[in-house]
Amino acid sequence: MPPGLDALKHIVVLMMENRSFDHMLGSLKAVNQQIDGVDGTQFNRDTQGNQVFVQPLAEFQSQLDPDPDHHFPAVDQQIFAGDQSATRVATMQGFVQNYFQQQQDVAHSQKIMYYFSADKLPVLTSLATNFAVFNRWFASIPGPTICNRAFAHYGTSFGQVGMSMFYPQGKSIYERLQDAGILAKLYYFDQASSTMEVVNLLQHQPELFGTYDQFLADCKSSKLPAYSFIEPNYTDHDNDDGEQLASDQHPDHNVQAGELYIASVYNAIVSNPALWASTALLVVYDEHGGIFDHVPPPACTPDGHSAGPADTGLSAPFNFDRLGVRVPAILISPWIPKGTVVGTDRVFEHASIPATVTNHFIGSYTASTAREQSAQTFLDLLSLDTMRTDSVVFNIQD
């Protein structure tokens, strides 16, 4: 076993909200041509037929308001540009036209093509260029949050393509680990933000749940579980410490607040040397949020479910045989060579998370879905023979 894997005692996943790869990390193509981002030539046509090119004009807030549609029918239009024929091809040409439908404003619809310049996102871009960035990590479903997050917890959404609450028919990664006598925890930000895993909260609290404060304390006291899943703050609200800014980066929440949150999670790990040496941190987004990305989602192994027209809002059923839009994903560990770019020949999605965690901590597990069993795992990226001694530390400005 490579020494980095031998040393690996903790996997931490931080799942953010609703931003596409090109929107957040596309600018890095200018830094490293291996990163499959944007170069200014990618475009969509607006409703008047004009070419709308990608531009580095994304702002932290108030630009993508109203929230771009990212429910199943809208994402289908974004990917296939409205073509619903049997022979259709994913062109990624329907983003501007789909966003136009929300305000009937041509100029506003063009903002869906904007991406961040690298200097605006110092946390995400530094982590991407210092550790491993994935060129092909896709949302699991061309749809919204809840069904996509389900893939990170269960390796399937049990046939769901929307936001409905559902009761799982299989074991979550937390239950699998618990059954094996291994500690796992889902940390939500605070009680006012709570969790998107409400069913889990009902069924498995308190043992599987903690708060972000507890995560920080667990890092400091070296009591982090083998597996941790961290949720951001989903709302602007007050608590006993005053104003709490939403940190999920969901439009129209402030993107800088999410940068701070990612930085604080990373800093909590890197500031404990023993933890840093034995932890892999995955920062990943649940779905693209309706924002442009230029890479067509590929076909995938079906997970045995089918969603009918009543659920998809389209005439044809969806057999869970195509992934959603590409999202940012970065794996962080001192055992990863600096500047690793995971190639376009390796496709990952959220089922890769339970697949990887199960494989590392449990080993063989036959009860997972066909989708999860076929999902790529990512710990081979911890390939160094000796641990890096260089690192990045984020200094939050007052």
């Binding site: 006012a192 909260l201 404060d213 800088q256 604080s264 001694t389 200094n395």
Partner: protein, 111 residues
Amino acid sequence: MTDAAPEPNQSKKRKRGSPKGIAPPTGDITFISVPKPPPSAFNKNRRAGCLIKAQLLHIQRAESARLPKEKRVGVKLEDIHTEAEAAAYIAAVTRILHPQGRKKSRPKPRS
């Protein structure tokens, strides 16, 4: 709102030493400055979006499933419009469902 002019990242390498109590590993450390959002970014009166509305429905179902009527918070979801209102209801139910998550004194943000 438009973005403030971005701060340069002010990356620089030092040997050991660190700001604000961080004790990173040995070796070359690159310190990267991260600007905070402006105070105007906070808007608890923002209308709750589709994600929060879905969470409210889930929380309400959890409340109904777990608690007898007399112990429920007694809020109608149609009366919740803003993020602050949503957060208040979510907090009230989560306090009952998961009292272990009660807030203790919060450490200052790490740098």
